[in-house]
């Protein structure tokens, strides 16, 4: 199966839990959803996709590459303005207005749903053009996190699942961006045509909707519908 990079941490837990619960094994690769799309179109042997958005699974379904009716939202992503340094980002994001930083890392809005959401937040706050010259672009949310984690960018918009645990920021400092400042980051799962007759695929999708799995997903900083 293929899973979005932002889902890395819960995915490891879920794969282990899934194996204990059902005896099926879920082997997963992590990456950018757009890359998976290109690979699936060209015959990559994935049977399930956990996308970072809801557009790609819909598109795969239209193109006959995903099983019709198998799509559902497995998690809704939350955005965090994060810095690796403690005490740097206040809990209302005022640091953005202060402008006392060199680089603000954002995932590419064209490629990553978290990047598109971050851009919406900046636009909503009226800071998009003021901060333009300070923006550096990660090709996905994992790379954006790396930019901030290494300190090369003082702060950046990352996924709560990367820096949080049980709704709190684990290290550094961050502002959990209110969900109404951007369109919801709805992450959809879909069974791919190649996995149509595999009972393990059905079991996995059922497992992802179970209370156990939803608990794990929520504890990693996602909202659920």
């Amino acid at each position: 199966m293929a899973a979005a990079s932002n889902f890395a941490a819960p995915m490891k837990r879920l794969a282990a839990d899934f194996e204990t619960a059902t005896g099926h094994r879920a082997a997963f690769s992590l990456g950018a959803t757009g890359k998976f799309y290109a690979q699936i179109r060209n015959g990559a042997p994935f049977e399930v996709l956990l996308a970072a958005d809801d557009e790609t699974p819909a598109r795969l379904e239209r193109e006959g590459l995903a099983v019709a009716g198998s799509r559902f939202v497995y998690a809704t992503g939350r955005l965090v303005l994060w810095s690796a340094k403690p005490g740097w980002v206040d809990d209302r994001g005022e640091v953005l207005r202060g402008g006392r930083f060199e680089h603000l890392a954002v995932a590419s809005p064209k490629l990553a749903p978290y990047g598109a959401a971050a851009e919406q937040v900046l636009t909503r706050l009226g800071l998009r053009s003021t901060l333009q010259s300070k923006l550096v672009w990660g090709e996905n949310i994992a790379q954006t996190y790396q930019f901030v984690h290494s300190g090369a960018a003082e702060l950046g918009f990352v996924a709560l699942s990367q820096v949080g645990e049980e709704g709190r920021i684990r290290s550094g400092s961050g502002w959990i961006v209110p969900a109404q400042l951007h369109r919801p980051i709805r992450q959809e799962a879909a069974a791919l045509t190649r996995g149509r007759d595999n009972p393990a695929v059905e079991a996995l999708l059922r497992f992802l909707r179970s209370d156990v799995a939803r608990g794990v997903i929520r504890s990693h900083g996602y909202d659920l519908e």
Binding site: A32, G34, K35, Y37, A38, E102, H103, A105, S108, K110, L111, L135, V136, W137, G138, E139, Q143, Q146, F147, S150, G151, A152, A153
Partner: protein, 224 residues
């Protein structure tokens, strides 16, 4: 038709490759010269160090460069103390990364060329009272011309083809660090395959022509 962002990426790539190649020739010539002539025990270690970028994945180079040049890294502290700021996400940072990344592709052809000259012409130059420096510029360099050509073309082409390192320390900034290979990657990821084709095909043609040039203008460059 190529869009403005594609042309900007190509122009940036050409600038980066040109600056990188010039710097590489300047530092690659003395290193290649030393490697070709030395009997020092350091020859092995230095040669291995120079060749490292050939075998290391670009992600390893990019990862360590980000750490080294970042605010906590030794180089980052140094550049900050000089008031130069930090190098990641800048054109200068890309130049440094590219110089390291393409170093073996310039040093090795030069080293081979210098080795091929042998002792004889330099001994003759010495008997004619040429100083070692003089002999280097008037005898060794002209004799090593095929090697210089090979080194320039390979260094330039290899920098143009660079991807993983710039992706990791570049930050994908249009006009500053978004080079052609990264632009192609973005296009593919964004499912804009038509635009990706334009640039990608251009890259294939460029690389082919560069190598063709090398092999036809410089037949001995193949062996050296």
């Amino acid at each position: 038709m190529p869009e403005a962002s594609d042309l900007a990426a190509v122009w940036l790539t050409l600038r980066l490759a040109t600056v990188t190649t010039l710097i590489l020739l300047l530092i690659g010539a003395p290193i290649g010269w030393w490697l070709a002539r030395t009997r020092s025990a350091w020859k092995g270690p230095v040669g291995a160090l120079v060749a490292l970028p050939i075998v290391l994945p670009p992600t390893v180079l990019g990862f360590y460069l980000l750490l080294l040049l970042g605010p906590e890294g030794p180089v980052g502290r140094f550049t900050q103390s000089l008031g130069l700021g930090l190098l990641p996400f800048t054109f200068g940072g890309l130049v440094i990364a590219s110089v390291i990344y393409s170093l073996p592709f310039v040093v090795q052809p030069l080293q081979n060329a210098f080795e091929a000259i042998g002792e004889r012409p330099l001994e003759v130059a010495a008997t004619l009272r040429a100083s070692p420096l003089d002999a280097f510029f008037t005898v060794a360099l002209p004799l090593a011309k095929p090697g210089l050509l090979t080194a320039s073309v390979l260094g330039f082409a290899h920098t143009v083809g660079e991807f993983g390192v710039v992706l990791m320390i570049g930050g994908n900034i249009p006009g500053q660090t978004r080079v052609a290979s990264v632009q192609i990657y973005d296009r593919v990821e964004a499912m804009e395959y038509a635009q990706a084709h334009g640039l990608a095909a251009g890259m294939v043609i460029f690389s082919f022509v560069a190598l063709l040039l090398l092999y036809t203008l410089n037949p001995s460059g193949r062996r050296r």
